[in-house]
């Protein structure tokens, strides 16, 4: 077995900490550094797990990249600081996995286009789209790989507790980025994304509905089989990704709903929207690690 790829996580908040929990279990990735901008519970937690920490941003760890053989960086900060982080790290040969909405690099939805990105040799920076994108674009692609999809629309319903201020301050970014990736990664002619935030207690588990309009009459058995195959792929890194009921076919319209329950590593299980981001980010890193060198 290959040696694990050594990684830095930037951003010791909820997402960064959940990612750390997952990475600590990985056969392919070894988290070495946690980078924050000040002392915080997340930094202390990382220290407790034996990671090196910086409380002064990425600059304090840049000199250790070679010494500590850092190959992968996960950025769980914000779009505003991502560009600078990315520039500093990719210049030193580190592959940046961007969990922010910055989208400097190509979108990456692991079961849909990661193989392609690896084949094309994208080693610099990849972007994990949005939570709604990770949850739904595999399903759009499951239809578009069977037959042409002229339009796809996703509705992500998430628990209020799981939506942070970053998303709330710029909710349009969710809408735009997800719509754009439904087209460029999902393969739909036109994409649309809707997000609904529900404050019910106990919090509801993330739920996503995907509607596709196929150009020709949908091949129901082929599409149903394709959904099942795709869901199995996603379950490899998000076991709680399950189909609700069976796909609904109505003329050229195909509708499928899924529920996304997280592993509950650091984030609560209902916030499958956050879990699928950290899991997809880690999955991307693991696939990179498994590349022949």
């Amino acid at each position: 077995m290959k040696k694990k790829l050594r990684a830095v996580i930037i951003g010791p908040g909820n997402i960064g900490t959940d990612l750390l929990m997952k990475a600590l279990r990985s056969d392919w990735i070894e988290p070495v550094w946690m980078v924050g901008i000040d002392e915080s519970p997340g930094i202390q937690r990382a220290r407790d797990y034996g990671l090196k920490v910086s409380t002064n941003g990425v600059d304090d760890m840049l000199n250790f990249i070679e010494e500590d053989k850092i190959k992968i960086a996960f950025d769980a900060t914000s779009a505003y600081v991502h560009a600078e982080n990315s520039q500093k790290l990719t210049a030193r040969g580190v592959t940046m996995i961007d969990l922010t909405p910055a989208a400097i690099g190509p979108y990456c939805v692991p079961p849909v286009n990661l193989d392609q990105l690896l084949k094309e040799g994208h080693q610099g920076n990849v972007n994990m789209v949005t939570c709604g994108g990770q949850a739904t674009i595999p399903l759009v692609a499951a239809v578009s790989r069977v037959q042409a999809v002229s339009y796809a629309e996703i509705v992500a319903t998430v628990a209020s507790e799981s939506v942070g201020m970053g998303t709330r301050d710029n909710i349009d970014e969710f809408t735009r980025t997800t719509s754009s990736a439904i087209e460029s990664v999902g393969g739909a002619g036109k994409g649309k994304a809707i997000i609904i935030i529900n404050p019910a207690e106990p919090p509801l588990v993330m739920r996503d509905t995907v509607h596709c309009l196929t150009v020709d009459t949908p091949d129901q058995p082929a599409i149903t089989a394709s959904f099942q195959k795709m869901i199995t792929e996603v379950q490899r890194y998000v076991p709680g990704y399950v189909m609700l009921n069976t796909p609904i076919f109505n003329d050229n319209r195909v509708t499928i709903s899924v529920q996304v329950e997280g592993l509950g590593d650091f984030l609560p299980k209902y916030s499958g929207n956050l879990d699928i981001m950290t899991a997809a980010g880690l999955r991307t890193a693991e696939m990179l690690a498994q590349q022949p060198t």
């Binding site: 629309e153 209020s160 349009d172 609904i196 935030i197 529900n198 404050p199």
Partner: protein, 341 residues
């Protein structure tokens, strides 16, 4: 109740909330005729958008017969005195839609969120205010929170730049005392220059009574809809509200007989079926479910055989919020499979 001499801004909803019972299929000609008649009657503010707001055209909520841009342009070019408003739900529409509406000549933007989620409206309210538009924060399903919680959310929208805050009874669940408590607290705690509005649904036949309670507690704007055309049992019927206010000596600037004519001659004829207090609508109001779920539940009944009012009860039981239409078919399938309804 003394409303003598009080000035009330009545805001018509039939070309936006009325899009729900019309499945968003109102024609441009109908929009022009109705808005023209409302304008002539002196209705000061008319809302024109897809039922689910700017950008609402979708498989999930239904595609409209025309784009928001086409509807708004046609109405703006029709009216002589009335101002035109558009609804925007962050998460469905974006600031791009907002800019487009302003370019069409819309001068009031109403940014709508669920009553606990006001902080998703910051960028839209900020922009609308910066553009010098009449900017309204519209807190939906307001029966689901206490007056204090509603105030906290209203204050957020006010801090972003809204010059008017709405208590929105999307489910038609509130009774007059519920309205009084919410509006009175908003009125006493928000800035004195911030206007207060109330948007009712007639699911418990409380549209007019609730709107009067709102005015008595200090509201400035009241939403209604000519002939009541709106989701569920419809909105507060605007011509009825105007007539009642006239009897009470409040001023609206509206010619009540011309408004009655508009409702009777322009709006009633376009209805696919009478907007009335059906069992489904009553269940919406009684249990507290979002009014535009009604037709989706009826379609699910046709397909799966589960009575629509039972589906609506279940939607209320799950504490769903506006926009969760995609859950209705799933619930119908589940209930049909379980055979429990």
């Amino acid at each position: 109740m003394n409303l003598l001499g009080k000035h009330v801004i009545l805001h018509d909803m039939c070309l936006r909330d009325g899009m729900h019972p019309k499945q968003h299929q109102i024609s441009i000609e109908q929009m022009v005729n109705i808005s023209g008649a409302l304008d002539q009657a002196g209705v000061p503010l008319i809302e024109v958008t897809h039922g689910d707001g700017l950008g609402g055209a979708s498989l999930n909520y239904g595609f409209a017969a025309h784009t928001d841009e086409e509807y708004m342009t046609a109405v703006v070019n029709t009216v002589k005195r009335a101002k035109i408003s558009a609804l925007l739900l962050p998460g469905i529409g974006t600031v791009d839609h907002l800019r487009m509406a302003a370019e069409c000549g819309v001068t009031t933007i109403r940014v709508a969120t669920h009553c606990t989620e006001a902080n998703v409206s910051r960028q839209h309210i900020n922009l609308s205010e910066q553009m010098g538009l009449d900017t309204v924060g519209f807190l939906m399903m307001a029966h689901m929170v206490t007056p204090e919680q509603l105030l906290e959310q209203g204050k957020l929208m006010e801090s972003y730049g809204a010059n008017c805050i709405y208590c929105t009874d999307s489910a038609g669940y509130m009774l007059p005392d519920d309205v009084t408590a919410r509006i009175a607290l908003l009125r006493s705690e928000l800035h004195k220059d911030t206007q207060i509005g109330f948007h009712g649904h007639h699911n418990l036949a409380m549209g007019v009574a609730n709107s009067l309670a709102a005015l008595d507690a200090g509201a400035d704007r009241i939403d209604g809809s000519a002939a009541g055309l709106g989701a569920g049992a419809g909105n507060t019927p605007l011509e009825v509200m105007a007539a009642v206010l006239d009897r009470m000596g409040a001023t609206t600037g509206i010619d009540i007989f011309m408004l009655m004519d508009a409702a009777e001659e322009q709006v009633i004829p376009i209805m696919d079926e009478p907007v009335r207090l059906s069992r489904d609508a009553l269940v919406l109001g009684y249990a507290g479910a979002y009014s535009s779920f009604l037709l989706f539940a009826k379609r699910a009944e046709l397909k799966y055989g589960v009575p629509s009012h039972q589906i609506l009860l279940e939607m209320a039981r799950r504490r769903t919020v506006g926009g969760q239409e995609d859950l209705i078919e799933d619930i119908a399938i589940e209930m049909a499979a379980a055979g429990k309804y």
